[in-house]
């Protein structure tokens, strides 16, 4: 059994514990849009001096609280659980609260860092700054019957489920509906009618739940023109998922279920 004494520290722990903060100066380039004031979005740069171990959300807060209170974005839990603050950071969908500044800062050239760009996620109507209209996204979620449908008599105690059956759909239960996957999908960018990865992930969570009896109906829905067959396996969604869900694999599993059950 190991004991955590001071001399057994790894370099990583020492770094994590060091109280000294090395502030760096960098620019945050945010795509601002306020339809109350201007018809077109503009890129605005903010110069910040912060500890790069802080989160990008902290940088956004610093702008909002100390420089420009009109900057608008959604956030709540600030540690990657609630899914409020999905945005495009340096062109990639991420949660601002799960992204540390140092991870998107890059290497300085002549002592100057390239600005970190922050934009709203794509494919959904931008309402103000980084806030998008989430209703179409949740509509797609609601359309795949994202709830347990169990036929037959209810047992008095819990329904039984083996450890293996439970593990079968574990990955897709992790979804926090942040929309990072769906809004990273090139198909969705051009066609909002596509269900999108998040809705399929949530259908998958029930299709492969041994307690559920409505898998057929969900497969029927996803067999549509705007269902799983529109997936082009670009893996953008898997890269974007802040929860590490194997999104593309889940979509492929739904496709496979459709093929094996229909043919």
């Amino acid at each position: 059994m190991s004991t955590a004494t001071e001399d057994k520290h790894s370099a990583a722990l020492d770094a994590a514990e060091s109280g000294a903060t090395q502030h760096v100066t960098f620019r945050l380039r945010i795509r601002r849009f306020n339809p109350e004031q201007a018809a077109e979005p503009v890129w605005v740069d903010y110069e910040l001096s912060m500890d790069p171990k802080e989160k990008l959300l902290d940088a956004l807060h610093k702008v909002k609280w100390e420089i420009d209170g009109t900057l608008t974005f959604r956030r709540s839990c600030a540690h990657g659980i609630c899914g409020s603050d999905a945005m495009r950071i340096n062109g990639k969908n991420r949660l601002a609260c799960k992204t540390l500044i140092k991870d998107v800062l890059g290497k300085p050239k002549n002592g100057v860092y390239k600005p970190i760009t922050v934009e709203p996620i794509k494919g959904l109507t931008v309402l103000k700054d980084l806030v998008v209209d989430m209703d179409p996204f949740f509509q797609a979620f609601r359309d795949v019957m994202p709830f347990l449908v169990a036929k037959g008599n209810e047992p008095t105690r819990e329904r039984k489920q083996s450890i293996e059956d439970r593990a079968r759909f574990d990955d897709t239960t992790k979804c926090i509906l942040c929309a990072a996957c769906t809004s990273s999908c090139p198909v969705f960018w051009n066609d909002g009618q596509y269900f999108g990865p998040a809705a399929i992930v949530n259908a998958h969570r029930f299709i492969f739940d041994s307690r559920d009896d409505a898998g057929e109906q969900r497969l029927e829905i996803l067999n549509e023109k705007d269902g799983v067959w529109r997936c082009r396996t670009t893996f953008n969604c898997t890269d974007a998922c802040p929860r590490g869900i194997q999104v593309t694999q889940a979509i492929q599993e739904v496709k496979r279920a459709l093929i094996t059950r229909r043919i």
């Binding site: 339809p35 004031q37 018809a39 109507t125 090139p186 960018w189 909002g192 029927e220 067999n223 549509e224």
Partner: protein
């Protein structure tokens, strides 16, 4: 400090509220109706299977046409006539024609679905695509079966 504005965005009349920019084909509150067909499933499966078959057919075709027996120089009217007198090559080319055309057409259909934003544009592009496909497939089939080696 807000230091630079990298793109200009000053409004003409600042008082007016601008419309927000909508993405194409936004999902509405209406749930899409189920068509209960397996068309998309078969189309998807067809792309994979026809692709595999086409690899064999097309590579075989290219090998014969361009490489074996003196390569491209041998291809002439007589060569084609000789090949099509054999039902094996007739079927080979017919299958290759149909699969390639359907594979390509379905691929283009997908591209149109993915990239054409307006419903009318989609309909027109697809109509054009289907017409061209049907025309080419029919013409090619006709040629393979009605080919006359004695034409002069």
């Amino acid at each position: 400090m807000a230091t630079t504005e990298t793109t200009p965005g000053a409004p003409e009349n600042p008082g007016a509220v601008a419309p927000v920019i909508e993405p194409p084909r936004k999902r509405t509150a209406r749930t899409p109706r189920s068509t209960r067909t397996n068309f998309e499933l078969f189309a998807w499966l067809f792309m994979r299977l026809s692709g595999i078959v086409l690899v064999i057919l097309v590579l075989g075709h290219l090998l014969i046409q361009l490489y074996l027996d003196g390569g491209i120089t041998k291809v002439s009217f007589a060569f084609v006539a000789g090949r099509w007198s054999n039902p094996w090559w007739q079927v080979w080319d017919l299958v290759m024609l149909w699969l390639a055309m359907l594979h390509g057409a379905n691929g283009l259909r997908t591209v149109i679905n993915d990239y054409a934003e307006r419903a009318a544009t989609r309909a027109w592009l697809k109509a054009l695509l289907y017409a061209a496909t049907v025309f080419t497939v029919l013409l090619g089939t006709l040629v393979i079966f009605t080919f006359d080696p004695n034409i002069s």
